[in-house]
């Protein structure tokens, strides 16, 4: 960015960042547990009550990338970007009904990951491995995207300190943020993001409040903001005979994202760290508050249009580097006083640290439990297990960092999109598995494979630019989120093959009992 650096904004930003860093290390002492045990390091000892869980799940699910990318979507594409609101509405009844069962059975059997559960329920190592690997692979680009979120606000502050090493351009502020994150995750485990999530939310809600009150006043009210949006982008184009149009794309995107959400390892970690099933149920009631904040944040995309930031020369570099993702930083820089810019940007950056920490912990739990212990060192001690998880959490984060420095930003976005298509394929084994053991593990395995293949193929026909694949059914064009279409195929294969395989009726091991789930 041209012009002098905004010293006030940078100072506020750094001060808040330093504060959460200290908090991250102090967290190790909080509700002290033996951090050489995996369920202590990686699940916070399963002791988080309603309030801490609320912050943790909120930090987990409403991430920095969401704060940047959703308004960007409204800014660029219009109404379609608002799908996040119905998406975050329909997940809560599902959380209320389905996931207390996962908590109960995991509590009873000491499961730390979804793959642990699948291993116990279906007695299939192969199926558990696919769940673990899908989880890890889908999470990696998600972590990289969080780092992109930090990158955007650092660029917004004009902090350009980079050096070139072996062809990589390494941005120092990002590297520093990252090393700090890795260090306190290593020492404190899940307690660190849980504690920092509280600070993050105070900052986010403060920022949202300021945005909803101050910006519309400056821009001449909500009516004016909506009036300045291209009318063609304000609503979804209605369906026409023979084509469901954008409306079915919108609905399936919301549905698919909702179904995928709680299959992500970091969501499972958030759920399993709570102290009881009632905590999960209460959170299903309280979590939609975030959905409301998210809706308001999304509308910042339209505010950015009304403010006309795109044509302002001061932000030309930012838009050139980050595209629509620069809409929110530009809007905040344009309308907020310096100190509030510092607070808001810190909120976004810290909003990236919390999920990045949880995601790396969740991946580490999966690798340690379901790959290392299962295949390499079945006799490992508790201390070895948690040590391995700590190391893996570092490796996973380094992977995300290499991604951000080494590849175009677009790669992370494409892979994250594919990650959603992949992770949803674990739904039959994990979510249906909570209700029935009728599905045959081999059928689930083949169903998973067909879902992954179909989903990836659909995304490839769209050159990985979009996730909305147009299905043609009885001459009607139905645009559908590829994850949902692929899941339908997965389910069909799983059910049909289960009928076949079950006909050969050998009894299968299941270490769980019906009463473990309630």
């Amino acid at each position: 960015m041209s012009g002098p650096l905004d010293v006030v904004a940078i100072a506020v930003f750094i001060a808040l960042f330093a504060f959460v860093t200290i908090l991250g290390f102090v967290a190790a002492q909080w509700r002290r547990g033996d951090l050489t045990k995996l369920h202590e390091w990686g699940l916070g000892g399963r002791r988080f009550g309603t309030i801490v869980s609320w912050f943790l799940l909120g930090g987990d699910l409403y991430t920095a990338y969401t704060f940047v990318a959703l308004p960007a979507l409204l800014f660029g594409a219009g109404a379609m970007g608002f799908f996040a609101v119905p998406y975050t509405v329909i997940i809560w009844p599902a959380l209320f009904v389905v996931f207390p069962r996962l908590w109960s059975v995991s509590h009873r059997h000491g499961y730390v990951t979804a793959a642990d559960f699948v291993r116990g329920r279906f007695g299939s190592r192969a199926l558990a491995l696919t769940v673990a690997v899908t989880g890890i692979v889908a999470t990696m680009p998600y972590i990289a995207l969080q780092l992109v979120g930090i990158e955007v606000v650092i660029a917004g502050l004009g902090l350009h300190l980079s050096l070139s090493v072996a062809g990589f351009t390494i941005e120092l502020p990002l590297l520093i943020a990252f090393v700090i994150l890795a260090a306190y995750t290593y020492t404190s485990g899940l307690r660190a993001p849980a504690m920092i999530a509280v600070v993050k939310d105070v900052l986010i809600y403060g920022t949202v409040l300021a945005v909803v009150i101050l910006i519309p006043a400056k821009l001449g009210g909500y009516a004016h903001i909506f009036a300045s949006v291209d009318p063609a982008k304000l609503l979804l184009p209605p369906s026409s005979p023979g084509n469901f149009g954008a409306q079915s794309g919108y609905a399936t995107l919301a549905l698919g994202s909702a179904l995928a959400l709680f299959l992500y390892p970091h969501s499972v970690t958030g759920i399993l760290s709570s102290s009881g099933r009632d905590v999960i149920k209460r959170n299903a009631i309280a979590m939609p508050v975030y959905a409301f904040a998210l809706g308001l944040i999304s509308l910042m995309g339209f505010m950015a249009i009304a403010a006309g930031v795109k044509s302002m020369p001061a932000y030309a570099d930012g838009f050139k580097a980050f595209g629509s993702n620069f809409a929110v930083p530009a809007l905040l820089l344009h309308t907020f006083p310096s100190w509030m810019v510092g607070v808001a940007f810190a909120a976004i950056a810290i909003g990236a640290l919390v999920p990045a920490a949880i995601m790396s912990i969740a991946s580490a739990n999966l690798f340690t439990r379901n790959i290392y212990k299962e295949y390499f060192n079945p006799a490992c001690t508790d201390a070895q297990e948690s040590h391995m998880a700590k190391i893996v959490s570092l490796i996973v984060k380094a992977g995300g960092l290499i991604f951000v420095f080494g590849f175009p930003q677009n790669y992370a976005i494409v892979l994250q999109l594919l990650g959603g298509v992949w992770i949803i394929q674990t739904l039959p084994a994990v979510m249906l598995g909570l209700y029935t053991r009728w599905l045959h593990p081999s059928a689930l395995l083949i169903g998973w494979l067909s879902g992954i293949t179909a989903g990836t193929w659909m995304a490839s026909t769209l050159s990985f630019k979009s996730a909305t694949y147009v299905l043609h059914i009885f001459g009607t064009a139905i645009p559908c989120y590829a994850a949902v279409a692929a899941l339908a195929m997965n389910l069909a294969v799983s059910v049909v093959l289960s009928v076949v395989f079950n006909a050969f009726g050998t009894t299968r091991p299941d270490e769980t009992l019906a009463e473990d789930y309630v």
């Binding site: 109404a79 608002f82 609101v85 119905p86 975050t88 509405v89 329909i90 809560w92 009844p93 209320f96 009904v97 207390p100 009210g221 909500y222 009516a223 004016h224 909506f226 009036a227 304000l234 609503l235 979804l236 209605p238 369906s239 409306q247 079915s248 919108y250 609905a251 919301a254 549905l255 102290s275 009881g276 009632d278 905590v279 149920k281 209460r282 299903a284 009631i285 939609p288 508050v289 959905a291 409301f292 809706g295 509308l299 009463e515 309630v518």
Partner: protein, 74 residues
């Protein structure tokens, strides 16, 4: 949360659990994909979906209370 319930709690679906289907109206896009009736200049599409968040909270809250009262639930 309170003490663990003695014995095995009964978990089964009851009619009031149907309330949990209410949030799914958020997927009926043609219903709300319109500009009117607008609210203070905000098109229906936007304010309806925001309002539906409140309905969702209420629906889950009522089910939660009813479950507590009947001492079971899902």
């Amino acid at each position: 949360m309170g003490a663990k319930m003695a014995g095995r709690p009964r978990r089964r679906a009851r009619p009031y659990h149907l309330l949990l289907l209410l949030p799914l109206l958020a997927l009926c896009v043609p219903f709300y994909d319109r500009a009117e009736p607008s609210l203070a200049g905000i098109p229906f599409f936007y304010w309806f979906q925001m309002a539906w968040i409140a309905v969702t909270v209420l629906a889950i809250f009522i089910v939660y209370r009813l479950e507590r009262r009947s001492g079971g639930g899902l």
